[in-house]
C-alpha cells in the first residue's frame, strides 16, 4: 500500500511509527512489573491479580500496537522510496525516520513476545 506520507515535522502518524513500539513495550513493562511485584506481596494477595492473565493481555495489546507502528513505518518507507537518507526535509527526514521505525518495531515486537512468554511459562511467586 503506497500512502502519501505526511509532510509536517509534528505529524502524529510519523511519530507513532517511530515511538509506538517502544511506548507499547514501556507500558507492558511498567504495568506487568507492577503486577508481578504486587500480586506476590502479602497485602497484594487479597487483590487476586492473576499474573498469567495480565501477562497475556498486556502482551497481546502491546504486540498489536507495536505491529501497527511497524506497518506505519513500512508504509512511510515505501512512500519515500525515491529519497536518500540525507535529502532535505520533508522527504529525507521521513525516509530516515521510517527506516528507524521499522527497525525499532521489529526489535520491540521480539522483546514484547519474549517477556510475555516468560511470564506464562514460569511459576508465579516463586523465588528466584
Amino acid at each position: 500500500m503506497r500512502l502519501e506520507p505526511p509532510k509536517s515535522a509534528t505529524s502524529p502518524l510519523m511519530w507513532f511509527a517511530v515511538l509506538g513500539a517502544p511506548a507499547a513495550w514501556g507500558v507492558e513493562f511498567a504495568i506487568g512489573y507492577w503486577v508481578t511485584q504486587t500480586s506476590c506481596s502479602v497485602p497484594g494477595r487479597d487483590w487476586s491479580l492473576d499474573q498469567n492473565v495480565w501477562g497475556v493481555v498486556l502482551m497481546a495489546l502491546s504486540f498489536t500496537v507495536a505491529v501497527a507502528a511497524g506497518l506505519t513505518a513500512v508504509a512511510m518507507f515505501r512512500g519515500t522510496r525515491d529519497s536518500e537518507e540525507d535529502d532535505a526535509p520533508p522527504a529525507g527526514r521521513m525516509h530516515f525516520l521510517a527506516a528507524v521505525g521499522m527497525t525499532v518495531a521489529a526489535l520491540f515486537i521480539f522483546v514484547i513476545v519474549m517477556t510475555g512468554l516468560g511470564i506464562v511459562i514460569l511459576p508465579d511467586c516463586h523465588q528466584s
Binding site: Q37, T38, S41, V42, P43, G44
Partner: protein, 206 residues
C-alpha cells in the same frame, strides 16, 4: 534573512508581541524549563513509587496507632492550587498580547492564593507531626517526605512569582515574557504533581 527576528532585542511590549507571533517553535528557555520539569517529575515518580513499594511491604498501612489520613481538607486545598493555574494561563495570554499590567495583576492574584495554600498546608503538616512522627515508622518517613518535597516546590514557585512581579514592573521584554511563560509552565507542573501527591497521601482512606 531580514524576516528572521532578533528576538532578544524586543524590549517593549509591542515588539515582544510581534516576536511571539512570528516564532514558530518553542524558545530555548521553554525547553530548559520543560527539561527541569522532566527531572522533577521523575523525582516525584521515584518518591511515589517508593511510597507504594513500602505500602506493599507492610500488611497494615498506616501501621497500628496511626489514623487513616483525612480526605476533605487535602482535596479541597489541592483543588485551590489547581485553580490558580487559571490566572497564570490568563497572565501568559495577556503577556502574549502585550498587556503588561494585566499580566502583572493576574500573577499577583495567583501568588496570593498560592501563598495562602502553602501556609495552610504547612499548618496541616505541623498538625500531622503532632499525631505521628516521621522518625518512628517508614509510613511516617515517606508521608512527610513526599508532602515536604511538594511544599518545597510550591515555595520555589512563590520565589519565582516574586521575581516575576519585580521584573514585569520594569517593563515587558521578550526575555520577561519568556520568563512569564516558563513560570506558568512550572505552576502547571506543580499543580499536576499536587494532584498526584494528594491522591497518594489519602490513598489509605480511599
Amino acid at each position: 534573512m531580514s524576516d528572521v527576528t532578533r528576538s532578544m532585542e524586543a524590549t517593549t511590549a509591542d515588539a515582544t508581541a510581534r516576536v511571539v507571533r512570528q516564532r514558530r517553535t518553542f524558545a530555548s528557555g521553554w525547553w530548559g524549563m520543560a527539561l527541569l520539569i522532566a527531572t522533577e517529575f521523575t523525582l516525584f515518580a521515584s518518591l511515589i513509587a517508593s511510597y507504594f513499594y513500602l505500602r506493599f511491604q507492610n500488611d497494615q498501612w498506616p501501621p497500628a496507632g496511626i489514623e487513616d489520613p483525612s480526605l476533605a481538607l487535602p482535596l479541597a486545598l489541592t483543588g485551590i492550587l489547581v485553580l490558580t493555574t487559571v490566572p497564570m494561563f490568563g497572565a501568559v495570554a495577556a503577556g502574549r498580547a502585550g498587556h503588561r499590567w494585566r499580566a502583572w495583576m493576574l500573577v499577583a492574584l495567583a501568588m496570593v492564593v498560592q501563598g495562602a495554600y502553602l501556609g495552610l498546608q504547612i499548618w496541616l503538616f505541623a498538625d500531622d507531626m503532632n499525631s505521628f512522627s516521621p522518625s518512628a515508622t517508614a509510613y511516617g518517613s515517606i508521608y512527610f517526605t513526599l508532602l515536604g518535597v511538594h511544599h518545597v516546590h510550591v515555595a520555589v514557585g512563590l520565589a519565582l512569582d516574586l521575581w516575576l512581579l519585580g521584573a514585569l514592573a520594569f517593563g515587558l521584554t521578550n526575555y520577561r515574557f519568556l520568563a512569564l511563560r516558563v513560570i506558568a509552565l512550572y505552576w502547571y507542573f506543580v499543580a499536576f504533581i499536587g494532584v498526584a501527591v494528594v491522591i497518594t497521601q489519602i490513598y489509605p482512606s480511599l
